[in-house]
Each structure stands twice: as C-alpha cells, then as structure tokens.
C-alpha cells in the first residue's frame, strides 16, 4: 500500500506509539474531521471492509466518546473513553479503552494539530499504561497477520541521527 512520506509510525519511548501525518487542509477543518461524529465515521475505519455504526462524541472535558466498528463475519469491535483536555483547534487529550479489553488498563491519546500554512500537521501519541498493554497490543498486531518484512527496519529506525 502507498503511504505519503509525511506518514510516520514510531515509538518515542517504551510506553508510547506515535502516529503523524500532514493534511492539505486548514487546521479548523482537520480538527472538525477528528471531532464531529458525521465526519469521523466516514474515515476512522482502518483497513477496507469496516463500517462505524456507532460514533458518538460529547466534545467537552469529562465528556465521553464511543465508537463501534462492524465487519461482516466478525464480532463488533467497540471502544470509548473520556475527554481530558480540549483546546480547539489545537489539541485533544482523551482516554481510550476497548470493550474486549485486549490490553489491561487504559491508553491516553494526545492529538496535536499544528497549523503550518497550507498544511496541518497532526500527531497522535498513544501512551500505554503498562508493559502488558503493549504486549497484548503486539499480539493483536500479529493476529492481523501482516508480516512486516525487513524492509520496515529502515522506517522503524527512521529517527536515527547520522552516526558520523
């Protein structure tokens, strides 16, 4: 699959996963696309085949959000959490927990929207509560059966400074 150069998945620390990407749209628009249910349900779907029959967002500090994904032949997958911090259109902090609890504890998601003129830079940092959480998340990744191959090494190590 083709991904643009700005798309990065990295592990800034042993408890975090970070996803970042540039979007060619004004920051307010991108923020809306991340926070308005009728927009979120159109894109936050992962690989092809999934729909989002439930997408509820109570956008205020202490407010809850709830997502349910559906795919034929597979059990529904639900998750939700509580907003801890909202600075429109710059920053969102929310807890995250899957119904199936395939990792213990919660994950804390921080989404930052940076206005860079023509583009908006988005960075999502997922902070896992425990090491066990990361391991189960890893196992889930394995179940999806996508063999990474050694070509991914370069991307994993992309943050390495030149060693001269």
């Amino acid at each position: 699959m083709f991904y643009p150069d700005s798309f990065k998945v990295s592990t800034p620390s042993d408890h975090e996963i970070q996803v970042s990407r540039d979007f060619h749209a004004p920051r307010q628009l991108v923020f809306d696309a991340f926070t308005q249910p009728d927009l979120v349900r159109r894109w936050l779907l992962g690989p092809p085949g999934w729909t989002m029959p439930v997408c509820e967002i109570d956008l205020r500090v202490g407010g809850r959000y709830r997502y349910v994904w559906r795919k034929s032949g597979v059990n529904d997958m639900g998750m939700g959490g509580v907003f801890r911090e909202i600075v429109s259109p710059e920053r969102l902090v929310a807890t995250e927990r899957f119904d199936e609890a395939w990792y213990p504890g919660e994950c804390l998601d921080t989404t930052v929207f940076v206005d860079a003129g023509e583009i908006t830079k988005v960075t999502i940092t997922m902070l896992y509560e425990s090491k066990e959480a990361r391991e189960t998340a890893r196992r889930s990744g394995m179940e999806h059966g996508m063999a990474a191959g050694y070509s991914r090494l370069e991307e994993l190590l992309s943050s390495i400074p030149a060693a001269n």
């Binding site: 699959m1 996803v19 990407r21 060619h24 999502i124 991914r152 991307e155 994993l156 390495i160």
Partner: protein
C-alpha cells in the same frame, strides 16, 4: 523489577527491545552496526564517548538481543541481529495499517469539506 527469566519470555524480549530503542545513542549505534560489525573502540570514536559508556549501551543492546558479540575474539566485535527489530516492527504494522488506511479516507473527506465549505463565501462574493 522483573524476575530473572522475564527477559527470555516473548513479552520480556519486546520490552527489552523497546527499552533499548528508546535511547538515541543506542539507536545510533544500531544504525552504525547496520553497515557492518564494529569493536568498542571503533564505536566509541564517532560518538565521542568513553569505552565504558559505550560498553554499557552495548550490554543493554545485547540483553535485548539486538546485537551479538563475539566472545572469543580479542576485539569482541558487535554485530546487528535483525530478528527482534523485525518482531518490533511487525507489532507496529497493525498501527500502520489502521492509521494509513484511515488517513487516506480523511484526505478525501477534507477535500470535500474544502469545496463545500467554500461555496457559501463564493456565492456571497458573486452577489457583490
């Protein structure tokens, strides 16, 4: 801390891998070893660090299984072991898939929003 056998379990191995990768110097050492094996002396030089400091980092990398060192040779060169990195990268693949696919759809949604939200303003301009 973790019991002795912990680092031998799959979970312990992955923890060790990510703990080792969390440090910029260790990532730089791995990048250097990607282009061929090197002794402690050879590694200490470009990083402007003492040999004991480098040795400490190598110990962490070795425990994580990211490098192996020749026990017999006097130079004890370190070399990169790719398997743990491949495991760690496979784990990240899940995130890459989910967000990569989602973001491509978001591009389309944003393009549509750009045109639909502009329209009222353009109509207003025409009226003038």
């Amino acid at each position: 801390m973790q019991p002795d056998g912990y680092w031998q379990t799959p979970q312990g191995r992955l923890d060790a891998t990510f703990a080792a990768l969390a440090d910029p110097t260790r990532r730089a050492i791995l990048a250097r070893l990607a282009s061929g094996e090197a002794s402690v002396t050879e590694l200490a030089e470009p990083f402007d660090m003492t040999q004991p400091a480098i040795s400490k980092h190598l110990k962490v990398l070795e425990r994580a299984g990211l490098i192996s060192r020749d026990r017999d040779a006097q130079r004890r060169p370190s070399r990169l072991e790719s398997q743990p990195l491949a495991e760690a990268s496979q784990w990240l693949e899940h995130y890459r898939q989910f967000w990569g696919s989602s973001f491509r759809r978001l591009d389309d949604v944003l393009d549509e929003l750009k045109t639909t939200r502009k329209k009222p303003r353009q109509t207003a301009r025409k009226k003038r």
